[in-house]
Amino acid sequence: MIVIIIYTIISFLLDGLLSNYMSINIIDPSYFRTIYSIISLVIIYNYFDNNTKYLKILLVLGMFFDIVYTNTFLLNVVIFLIIYLIIKKINIFIPNNIFTINLKSILSITIYHILSYLILLLSNYHNYSIRLLTLILSRSIIVTIIYTTISYLLLKKIYFKIYDKKIK
C-alpha cells in the first residue's frame, strides 16, 4: 500500500512540476503536459482487490487536485469517478499488459479533456476551441505513453518483489 501511495503522491506533484517548470528551449513545454495523477489512477487500479480502498485514494486525489491545481469544487472528483467506472468496465474485457495499459491511459486522458471541454463549454463564458482540445490531446500522447510505460514496469517490479499480492 505504501508504495502505491508514494507513487500517487509523486504523480500528483509531477502535475504541478511539469505544468510549468519544464521550460527547455529545444522542446515545446506543452509536450510534457499530461495528467500524471490520472495515469497513476489507471496504473494502480490493478493492484487493488478491494475497490473501497481504491475509491478512497481516488476521492482524496480528486479533492486535492480540485483545490490545488484547478481551484474547483468536486469537478475532478466527478471526472475521476467517471474514468474509474470506464476503466472498471474495460478491465473486464481487456487483460492488462504494457500495450493495453498505455491504451487505457490515453483513453482516460482523452475522456478527462473531453469532459472538461464539455463542462467548460456548458458552464463557462470563455471560448475554448475544439482546435485547442485536439492540440492538447495530440501533444499529451507521447509523454502519456512514456510515463505509463515507466510507471507500469517500475511499479510491477517494485511491488510484486516486495509484496507479491494484491491489496485487500
Binding site: 510549468n20 513545454p29 481551484n71 474547483t72 469537478l75 472538461s116 456548458l122 470563455h126
Partner: protein, 285 residues
Amino acid sequence: MKKKNINIKPKYTILIIIFSIIVIVTVFSHTLKEDRQLNKFESFIKDTVTSVEKIVFYPFKFVINKVDDYKELNNIRKKYQSLLPEVERIDSLNAENIELRKQLKALKEELNITYTINDYEYLNATVINRNIAHWYNTITIDKGSYNGVEPDMVVVNSSGLIGRVVSTTTFTSDVRLITTSDTINKISVTISDNNTSVNGLIKNYNYNTKYLEVEGISNTEKITEGAYVYTSGLGGIFPSGILIGTVKNITTDEYDLAKIIDVSPVANFDDINYVAVLKRKEIEK
C-alpha cells in the same frame, strides 16, 4: 443475504439522468468561475500543498535555472553587441525620464490628482504551477492576500503584460493569462508607431501561430507591421503603457470593414517562471 433488485421505470431513469445533469452543470458553473474565492479549508490545503511543492521543486528549479544561465552565458556577447548603442543613449534617456516625471508630478499637483491607475509598485513572485482545468491559461503564484495581492491586480514579467489576478488565498494567487479568450472582459490596447495611434481590443489567442488577434479597428486606419501594442488604460483594470507585443500581420475581416491584427506577444507564455504583480499605491490623503 439476498440483494434487493430495485426496478426503476425507464421514464424515471431518463428523468433522473436529466436531473443529475442539471445539478452537475449548475454546481460546475458555480465552481468553474475563475474568480471563485476558496473557503478557509480549501485555502489552508492549497497553501500547505504549495508550500510543500516549493520545497520539493526547489532542486529541480535550481537545475533548470543553472541550465538557463549557461545558455544565457553563450548569448551574452551577441546581446552585449546589440545593446551597446542603447547603453550609450541611456544617460540622455534617464535625464529625459526625470524631466518628464517632474512635469507629470507638477501637472498632477496643478490638477489636484492624487491617484491615477498608473500609480503602482512592483511585487515580485514565482510561478508555482499552471491551472490544468482551464487548460493552462491560469497560473498560480506564490504571493497572496498576506502580501497585499488583491483580485484584478495586473501581472507582468520582464518582457511585458502577462495577465491579471483573479483570486487569492493567504499565500497564493491565481493569475488569468491574456491568452484566455475572455468574451466579457476584453483587453483594450493601443497600437502605436511613430506617427499614428489606434485603439483596439484583444479578441483571442491563436495557439497554432502563437499570435494575439486584435479587433475593432477600422479598415481606413493605417497600421504598419512592427508597430508596438500596449495597454490603453481604458476599462479601468490594466494601466496604460504596458507593452504586449508587436504587430506581425494585418488582414481584414470578411466584410472588408475592419482590420484584424496579429500581434506577436513579447512574453513567452510557455515559459513563465518569475512575474511581478503591480500593486496599487496607497492613495495619499
